[in-house]
Symmetry: C2
Subunit: 435 residues, 2 copies
């Protein structure tokens, strides 16, 4: 049994680049080689799980609840699992009741169902720029127009959000919702400051909007800090999405939505049309894991693993990347977001990087409007620290060579690779400290 290549990079290649099947096959025949260091897929390091504990849980479920675990279930998901997930939310100081929750196939199904409930073709969704590629996929599959709000090291910039909402109002348009990943954002690697959360909550209320709060990484703060959620600040206006993919295992395909009653009922009906019900088997495995195992200890172990990898990556970037490159400073989660000097297009660079045995996801994948040509996402969650150093060294060498070439050809006048809405220099977007 084998994992068929890197699913994230594959999505990027097919959806964003529109690569032909033959090109994709050629690319992946290289990427899937063990000698390639992949910073592409946002994959948790599942090998850090306690597999004896997992086995105990799975055997308990089969022995004690076999016929039910292998049976159909209800569309909202098992009540016992929802009870446990309420406890998981409470661990982040977020209040919820078991009735508020719907179990979904990972966070992605939550985004898709919410998109289906809210979006008519041409509707506007406001989201951070850059934002989660899977959310873009769900929104665009319902023909939404995504409008990006700028970010910096403290997350979404409230003034940029206010401007965007006012501009939409001036055009007699209104966002269906504001989508945000407030904690350790994918792909930005930054978190929304406490003050900004309050300011953004006020804007949401003032414009009579709904916020879609997507929180896969909230428990993976390296210091164990938890942040105030929009669900706490404006519960009636918040649709909250959670997942066990990063705190337990994505292979369970268990996420959830906590939403106000009317939205919840629509979501449950749509989910039944979509796939009838979540898997009782994986629901019961997650329920038993949360009920019987010290899952908080496992979360701490994951934090330590990712903290070490993040630190390794940041040190390596400082050592190996050429001057002019900047990157964010993650305090949790999986990602570092890198901005290159003018003249290098990260989409074009990918094939060369893969030839040098290192992979990443080019920045354009995380915008709806073609921005991000000078940016890329590095994910440090999966490779070991040693491999991270190797990979960053390889990528640094490539960037040195490319920048030398750019300077030789263009001198000080390298082409703009950012895309159609190049930000102004005084507002440098998600950048952070330089190399």
């Amino acid at each position: 049994m084998r994992l068929d290549t890197d699913p994230y990079l594959q999505r990027y290649a097919t959806r964003v680049r529109g690569m032909a099947a033959s090109e994709i096959r050629a690319l992946f025949s290289v990427v899937s080689r063990p000698e390639v260091v992949s910073f592409a897929g946002g994959m948790p390091y599942t090998a850090a799980l306690d597999f004896q504990a997992v086995e105990d849980v799975v055997v308990e479920v089969i022995r004690d609840h076999g016929p039910t675990a292998l049976q159909y279930g209800g569309g909202q998901g098992l009540e016992g699992l929802r009870e446990q997930l309420v406890d998981v939310m409470a661990y982040e100081n977020i209040a919820a009741h078991t009735d508020d929750l719907i179990i979904t196939v990972g966070g992605q199904q939550a985004l898709e169902l919410i998109a289906k409930v809210f979006i008519n073709p041409g509707d506007v969704i406001v989201a951070e720029g850059p934002t989660y590629v899977g959310a873009l996929g769900a929104f665009s599959s319902h023909q939404a127009e995504v409008v990006h709000v700028r970010m910096d090291a403290d997350g979404m910039i409230p003034e940029s959000l206010a401007e965007t909402l006012e501009r939409l109002a001036a055009d007699a348009r209104r966002a269906k919702f504001v989508y945000t990943v407030p904690n350790h954002q994918n792909p930005g690697g930054v978190s929304l400051s406490v003050e900004r959360r309050e300011r953004i909550a006020e804007l949401i209320e003032a414009h009579d909007l709904v916020v879609l709060e997507d929180n896969p990484y909230g428990l993976l703060d390296f210091e164990g800090i938890t942040w105030p959620s929009f669900r706490e600040l404006i519960p009636d206006r918040t649709i909250y999405v959670g997942t066990v993919s990063k705190t337990f295992a994505p292979g369970a395909r268990i996420g959830w939505v906590a939403a106000p009653g009317p939205v919840r009922n629509k979501l449950t009906l749509l989910r039944e049309a979509a796939d009838l019900c979540p898997s009782n088997l994986t629901q019961m495995i997650v329920e038993t894991w949360l009920r019987r195992q010290p899952w908080q200890e496992q979360v701490k172990r994951f934090r330590e693993v990712y903290r070490e990898r993040a630190e390794t990556m940041l040190r390596s970037l400082a050592d190996e990347f050429p001057e002019g490159c900047t990157w964010t400073d993650p305090r949790g989660g999986f990602y570092v977001w890198v901005t290159l000097p003018r003249g290098i297009d990260t989409s074009d660079l990918l094939a060369k990087a893969v030839n040098k045995r290192v992979a990443y996801v080019p920045g354009r994948g995380f915008y709806a409007d073609g921005q991000g040509g000078d940016q890329l996402r590095l994910c440090y969650s999966y490779p070991t620290p040693e491999r991270i150093r190797e990979g960053v060294t390889r990528l640094g060498e490539l960037l040195h060579d490319e920048l030398e070439l750019v300077r030789a050809v263009y001198g000080g006048d390298a082409p703009d690779t950012h895309g159609p809405t190049r930000r102004h220099d005084h507002d440098s977007g998600v950048a952070g400290r330089g190399g």
Copy 2:
């Protein structure tokens, strides 16, 4: 841990009847009592599985492939599982290649994704009448108009299909596809004869259409007979949907689509937007089950269980149901479809039935156009033979009482309960032998 009530009946109550939450709660507080015999949910008898074998499989997956089983996977599903499912199809004499298949969250996700690819609001889908309620849910969630084709004991009537297609053509409309459950149909309990399959395949070709062949029950023929599939007859025009829900376990949530290349690529992109990927864990469990366990023996065991239950139900119906009732004669699968004499509305009758501690799904749930008020579906797969006898006896008593009342009130002139398109007497739809 408990199974939260009967998911099928719940779907019926919310979607078809539009019952209020309080009514539904009241109904289900009764249905979920152990003394109620439920013929409602189309649930396989998972207790007939060899749970030691299931445990062995699950432990093998966790021990030998833990980190991968708990990781993300690709949107098409694991190649190893697709290889095994090609063998399952071959066991029904259906040819396929691993590349042809996409793994889905049960057959339901397959129907939803196909609906999303093909259906624009207002499009026509042609389907048997009655048809699978989950397909109606998927099609209607994309605002399709479902046009029903009549059935009899040999399945969909080709002349009725031809008429329907010609009527649509005369209106300058065209079906997006013809949906059929050719083997042991849900809810009809009948199979399409070999001659009709050929005739329908010709009609599909003549009208330049596509057929959506949904085959959950093909391996559950009581005699082990397999029937020619549309995928064999017209492969380029067939989208084939399979599932392991009835031959292994619905709790795995594993189904699949086999489709021509262009459709397959669209389906894979939409599935990634819908939920990223199927569960590696349940995929590997199913793959290992099919690779290592004598799954064909398990299928034979299921057949025997369902055959005994079908025979028990048919005998009980003949003994207990009043004159004027008719029902189909299943040779496989899970269902008996019952038509009552004029004057009894099966939707209205449900509450009384539940009070008499027996449940079924009223016929209207299986039509898009309000037909079926005089019909109901009985599912024999889940209750034991003894419970089946009890349940049919209770329902028979209720029907005797109701018919007596109808005769006392209306004499020979009972109201028509079938619905807006009452069939003519000379073409009695899915009826079969009388009671």
